[in-house]
Amino acid sequence: MRPLPLPDLGNPPLTSASRLLTWQAWRQRDVLLKAMAVGIVSMLASAAAPLLLGGAIDSGLASGFGRELLIWCGWMLAAAAAIVVSGVFSHTWDVESWLRASFAFSGLVGDKASRAGHAITKRLPTGEVVAAVANDALRAGDMFAMAGRFTGGVVTYAVVAVYMLSQDLVLGLVVTIGIPVVAAILALLVRPLQARQRVHREATGRLTALGADTVSGLRILRGIGGEDVFAGRYAQQSQEVRRRGVRVAAVQSVLDGLQVLLPGLLVALVLWLGARAVVRGDLTSGQLVTFYGYAAFLAWPVQMATQMLQMTTNAVVSARKMLDVLRVTEATPQAATTAPEPPSGSDLADEASGLVLRPGRVVGLVCADPDVSAALATRLGRVDDDAEAGTPVTLGGVRLAELDKEMLRHRLVVAEATPHLFSGILGEELDARGRATEAELMAAVLVADAQDVLDSVPDGLAGELPEKGRSLSGGQRQRVALARALLTDPEILVLVEPTSAVDAHTEARIAERVAEARRGRTTLVVTASPLVLDHVDEVVLLSPAGTVVTSGTHGELLARPDDDGAAYRSVVGRSMAEEPHPSDDHDLEGAAR
């Protein structure tokens, strides 16, 4: 078996679900063909059993325990060996077929998620993308897993039908027509069953959601009360699910009964007609045993055909859902033709606000409305080409969207206010570029004042950070993200509110160390904290409308007697008056006054 995942994901057609499925089938044609061939062998070997048993019985009746019987038994052993051997290969290749398909689809969806950026969350709920891998890729794979056995079933059905018709036309017709008719009648009942199953599944889904909701808020329930109400509510829905289940049982059990009755009656009919033929001398006892065997056996390929139909339908539905993900266009695609790389030390300029970042300066950006300054910082990072088309940002005079993306991402990094922390080894998660030495890691941790994180995560840098850094406090998460941003070590670094969730002691230390670490390198810090602004080379004040008003050092701006100075003081001077300031915002603990 080829180890999976395969290195090449390929370039799938996105035009339709069936195109996508046939594309994958063609890509794995080798294993599919093998599965089909061995499926045919396996089913034919199974189909031989009733025939050989009938032959053995006839020979036993005719000549007793002798050479002829031993030959028949020899054939039965050969068929048994064929079943055992082909069974091994058939299962192996069915599983391989399934894995090849579902892993290929998972890989494609995952690849899209890793490249699409912001666009994927904008277009689809997270749950749907996850379901595309967790459900749809596996379901689409089912069809491929079934293909071998299905083919074997079809071929065997035809062979057995021809054999029976050649032996006894009437009995042959009864069996070969009777079985599909029985299957069709049973299929009629499947629809009302599925309707009730759907209702039951939906009720179960609500119950699960209710349980998850109750447990997610358990700290509140145990802290404030209402546990009984919620346990009661869950029990109520649980009983609703049970009642729905009983309604499913009513239909399901009728179907189960019919599954016994209809094929059973068919077998009885075959036995009756056959036995009369035996009495008349048109058929041997052994042939009757064979027909009896086939009346039961042929239900199997028919069942496979029904399953295959179901799986194909499911696969098409799943393929459509996967296409929804695969069709998402990247938020910041690589330009078809990229502009030449601007020399290092180029100015970064935002035309809408008039902000120009000169090389080598550590600058603070202050605005009465923190959303405005954060939006400016975000577009400096080129997050969404469509949304940013009207607010051009240039590096060395070239628009960001025209630059080579990898080069841009390495030279310019914007660390947003609520960055995502990924699960993994802490040391590796900090080192987004994968090139830092342990000393560099420790230095960045020190700058971000995140040494306590090393104690919080068992085994420190070698320890495991959970999803979203959940085991860390808000402040710790922010400092880990800051260390990660610093370690990318870009030519231009933009930090948005890097200290909004840490205490004042820590903020003071971080402010000093970050300014020191980035001294002489282009850096923009969006903040209104005086502790941070005190350490930057220059502060730029942005109007609430988003244009540059003035700039200067923190001290200068604080001391400036004009309107700009007053505006600046009102943003950063949080503790200067009793009344809440119009911009007294970050300090949410102020609410506790």
Binding site: P5, I224, V248
Partner: protein, 590 residues
């Protein structure tokens, strides 16, 4: 938060227990005993159905024997009618047997999950705070759902298989014990192969589901962090991780495939060899006049028929084993002991005192080193200090969440942890960053705090927290469905709902642990009024990371390394020129 995040490496108390084999068996035994009546009925019906199902091969064998002795068409008609009768009986009984067993499965499963939820909502406060909700959510959703398949279908199916196999063997021996011996050829193969397989299958399938869970986790992270992935150029890293997860899933699949590739041929061999053995052995017996060809045909067909149930049984046993692991996690929740026993003492006042409080998450590693503080009724105490100093731990002690490892926290002379939880809530409440809005109506969300609250009381509480305007505008008023899937509430509105709950709960002391720090900055000023309404007239401990809270508080406690370094009114501390003063000056930029 910070102090509590240092997880002890050994015997992690933050993990919920998992039941061992004996405890799981006891639970299963208890469930079966409780339902032995229904279980017996189900088994009886399936037995009747299985007996009727044995008629076909039996009648066929009889017929073959009669043909060789010469028989009539009338006799054929009779045998055929008997068979039709048997088929009808089998079908009708199967219908009722299946219905009864499915209803049985539904009832047992409903009981199991309701008991589980009952236990979960009774978990000790300290366990809920320590263990977090992630593991519990997984048990409520994944594990309960995994059990569903096993309880609803697995148990009845195993029952049917066992009955069918057993009865087919019995019928074979009744038909002709000598010929039936040939059937037993397959038994040792099936026994050994199944034993070998079942010993290895569970870890194999658990590894598989873990591998897929990891893969789904990676995809979830990739989507949720898509923006960060793009901005920090982490795409190739995400792709590497996906490949690694897929490789692990492949390895897990390959392992279980290997297991099945030994099981399947063994079962195939047993199932295919049994009829051959019967024919050979039976034919020899027939040649010695010890058996008839008809009985040989009957038993050979029985041998043939047993293949299906044997395969079915082995794979369901496998599923039941996997389900047992989920059951162990579900039952495990019930093993958490109570963290407090109410002594029945009644507080004599509303004064909260902490005396020499120590706390260790791990033995020998105190996070708090004997903290004493007396809260004055109605005062605002701000707790400040660096991250990891023990502020949040102290807050939890003061709110009675955990019993302290040393010293005591009392209200009116009674230790907080000696009060029943229902009473404790009326004295002290902890308010954290969490503001979960439950699925349900707005009224239901508020009535948590006071199940008997009148509609007027609800409106008053909303009015008090300044939430009247937007709640009035809701499409269905108090009956509006909120929470996941309902009418969306902004974080600020959710926080106001949380505050309105506090108004209804009406404790005299509140511990605020960074209660508003996750809020949208723009909502802060609006909420300030809401919060003030709640705080008025109560004793407040505010754990803060911002200094001006401290400035406005009646007293400030500076916590450092598990001790109170300084405590007193803001002005005094500033005048004293200690750590607090230094910090304050840098904050002031003086």
């Amino acid at each position: 938060m910070s102090a509590t995040t240092a997880p002890p490496p050994a015997a992690d108390p933050r993990r919920l227990p998992i039941a061992d084999g004996t405890q799981v068996k006891r639970t299963v035994g208890r469930l079966f005993r409780r339902h032995r009546g229904s279980l017996g009925g189900v088994a009886a019906l399936h037995t009747v159905a299985a007996v009727a199902g044995l008629a076909g091969p039996f009648l066929l064998g009889r017929f073959i024997d009669e043909v060789s002795g010469g028989t009539t068409l009338a006799r054929v008609d009779t045998l055929a009618l008997i068979l039709v009768g048997a088929v009808v009986v089998q079908a009708v009984v199967t219908r009722y047997a299946q219905r009864l067993s499915m209803i049985f499965g539904e009832r047992v499963f409903a009981e199991l999950r309701e008991e589980f939820m009952e236990t979960v909502t009774r978990l000790p406060l300290s366990t809920v705070e320590k263990a977090g909700t992630g593991d519990l959510v997984a048990r409520t959703t994944n594990d309960v759902n995994k059990l569903q398949h096993a309880v609803r279908f697995g148990v009845p199916r195993v029952l049917v298989c066992v009955v069918t196999i057993g009865l087919t063997l019995v019928a074979s021996f009744l038909t002709d014990p000598l010929v039936a011996l040939g059937l037993l050829v397959g038994v040792p193969i099936i026994w050994l192969a199944t034993r070998w397989y079942l010993q290895r299958a569970t870890p194999g399938y658990l590894r598989e589901s873990a591998a897929y869970a990891t893969l789904n986790g990676t995809i979830t992270e990739a989507v949720e962090g898509a923006r960060t992935t793009d901005v920090l150029w982490l795409g190739s890293r995400v792709r590497r991780r996906l490949r690694r997860d897929l490789s692990e899933a492949f390895a897990a699949e390959k392992y279980t495939l290997g297991l099945r590739l030994r099981l399947i041929p063994s079962l195939d061999t047993a199932v295919a060899v049994a009829p051959i053995a019967v024919v050979l052995w039976g034919a020899w017996l027939a040649s010695q006049d010890l058996a008839s060809v008809g009985t040989v045909a009957t038993i050979a067909l029985y041998a043939h028929q047993m293949g299906g149930p044997v395969f079915d049984l082995v794979f369901w046993l496998d599923e039941l084993q996997v389900a047992a692991v989920a059951l162990a996690r579900v039952v495990g929740v019930g093993l958490v002991g109570p963290d407090r026993v109410a002594t029945g003492e009644v507080p004599t006042s509303e004064e909260v005192h902490a005396h020499e409080v120590r706390y260790a998450y791990r033995e020998g590693h105190d996070v708090l080193h004997g903290i004493s503080v007396d809260l004055r009724p109605g005062e605002r105490l701000a707790v400040v200090g660096p991250s990891g100093a023990g502020k949040s731990t102290l807050g939890r002690m003061l709110a009675g969440i955990h019993p302290p490892t040393g010293g005591s926290v009392t209200v009116g002379q009674v230790p907080l942890v000696d009060l029943p939880l229902e009473d404790l809530r009326g004295h002290v409440a902890l308010v954290t960053q969490e503001h979960h809005v439950f699925v349900g109506s707005l009224a239901e969300n508020l009535r948590l705090a006071d199940t008997a609250a009148s509609t007027d009381a609800l409106w008053e509480a909303l009015e008090a927290v300044d939430a009247r305007a937007w709640t009035d505008a809701l499409p269905g008023g108090l009956a509006t469905e909120v929470g996941s899937g309902g009418h969306p509430l902004s974080p600020a509105q959710a926080q106001q709902v949380a505050l309105a709950r506090l108004v209804l709960l009406d404790p005299h002391t509140l511990v605020l642990d960074e209660a508003t720090s996750l809020l949208d900055p723009r909502a802060a000023r609006h909420l300030e009024r809401s919060l003030n309404a709640v705080l008025t007239g109560r004793t407040v401990v505010a754990i803060a990371h911002r200094l001006h809270t401290a400035h406005d508080a009646d007293r400030v406690a500076v916590v450092d390394d598990g001790r109170i370094a300084e405590i007193g009114p803001h002005d005094e501390l500033v005048a004293a020129g200690g750590d607090y003063a230094r910090l304050w000056h840098s904050w002031q930029h003086e």
